[in-house]
Symmetry: C2
């Protein structure tokens, strides 16, 4: 029983893949080198895949060529907001146009090729409510499209999209990961490309707040 798990190198996808593994799936991890500034993510994705004992494929797709995001260009990354400010903000500059749609499309293709029944994605609607492609209704619509998109679907065995942490908050995700022994020190959240995490970008702020509320050690160094 195979599953394709999208692994970014961050906490959410690591916990999601650990959930897939705990359900008995043979994990086939898929990571995108998409021109993001935070390349360290990719090294972390490799460590997480190794910890999972997963087959790991890294696909290079140049989203920077398409532009439109602070994560793939020189647009400044906002810092210094509180967790509540981040959660109630409109869509930030770190939004990458149609990123999850592109990632899920590749995962769907890969799942069909290797004969996997499920694609797991660490989308989360609670902390990042501003990202349109992290909402439950989006995941459901992708599923309905996927139910028509593939040869497998036509043959009556469509590939299922699962987002098991969709409605958990960061502290709940961390607690769940802790239970399964996810090595958080091997994950990376910071949007910037530094050696240590910046501690002030939206992703660092939500991470720090999550670990604090979960009462669990982070394991990552901050500037």
């Amino acid at each position: 029983m195979k599953a394709v798990c999208l692994i970014s190198g961050g906490i959410d996808s690591a916990v999601t893949a650990a959930i897939a593994k705990s359900r008995g799936f043979a994990v086939h991890a898929l990571t995108f080198d998409y021109g993001q500034r935070h390349k360290k993510e990719i090294e972390c994705a490799k460590s997480i895949a190794k910890w999972l004992g997963a087959n790991h494929k890294i696909i290079r797709i140049d989203l920077a060529q398409l532009g439109g995001s602070a994560l793939t260009s020189d647009i400044e990354i906002e810092t210094g907001k509180t967790p509540d400010e981040i959660k109630s903000s409109p869509i930030p500059a770190t939004y990458v146009p149609a990123r999850n749609t592109i990632f899920l499309s590749f995962a769907l293709a890969y799942a069909e090729t290797i004969g996997a029944d499920v694609v797991f994605i660490g989308a989360n609607a609670v902390d990042y409510s501003g990202y349109p492609d992290c909402r439950p209704e989006y995941i459901e619509a992708f599923q309905r499209m996927a139910d028509l998109a593939t040869k497998r679907a036509v043959e009556g065995a469509p590939i299922k999209i699962e987002a098991p942490i969709l409605n958990l908050d960061k502290a709940q995700i961390i607690k769940k990961g802790k239970e399964m022994g996810v090595p958080f020190e091997k994950t990376w959240s910071c949007y910037k490309g530094g050696k240590k995490a910046c501690g002030v970008c939206a992703s660092c702020v939500l991470r720090l707040d999550g670990f604090k509320r979960a009462g669990v050690g982070d394991g990552v160094e901050y500037e």
Copy 2:
């Protein structure tokens, strides 16, 4: 008024892009170098984009790395079928897992980035009824997903997916292209990577049959 037009180098996408242009859109052509054997397609896509006066972006994505198709691997391409046999066949080995989903996802991202209102795709349900991602219900489901996927959608201006030749047969497509002056001699349909078109693969057979029924000259040399 901008439109992203997926251009493969074949007839269907060339006619589709010409329709977009005739409707007054500034065409932004998007082509994928996806590891296909028929690289000549990409040169043809360049010629068509030039004829259209379009901005042209070629994105390299390695679908061969994912495998699963005769178009991106050493699986043999079937030859010698009649047009009717091809149209009534089950999904052939030339099916590329989730290809249109991947292409449309990139087109959606690109449209959002450059501020285009519409994505045009030359999907056709008549000649290639075996391909799941060429069916009207698939295109509609992709639209519903796209209506939730982007920042623009959240802001009330979702990007529209148009497939204007979806229900035309090849002869009708060719006649429509002829009316608009599409330079068919600059298009490429053959699945194989030869200097001349093979004339016997499914794509060549449908092309030859279409030109014959349309009563229009092809302009491409066959072996």
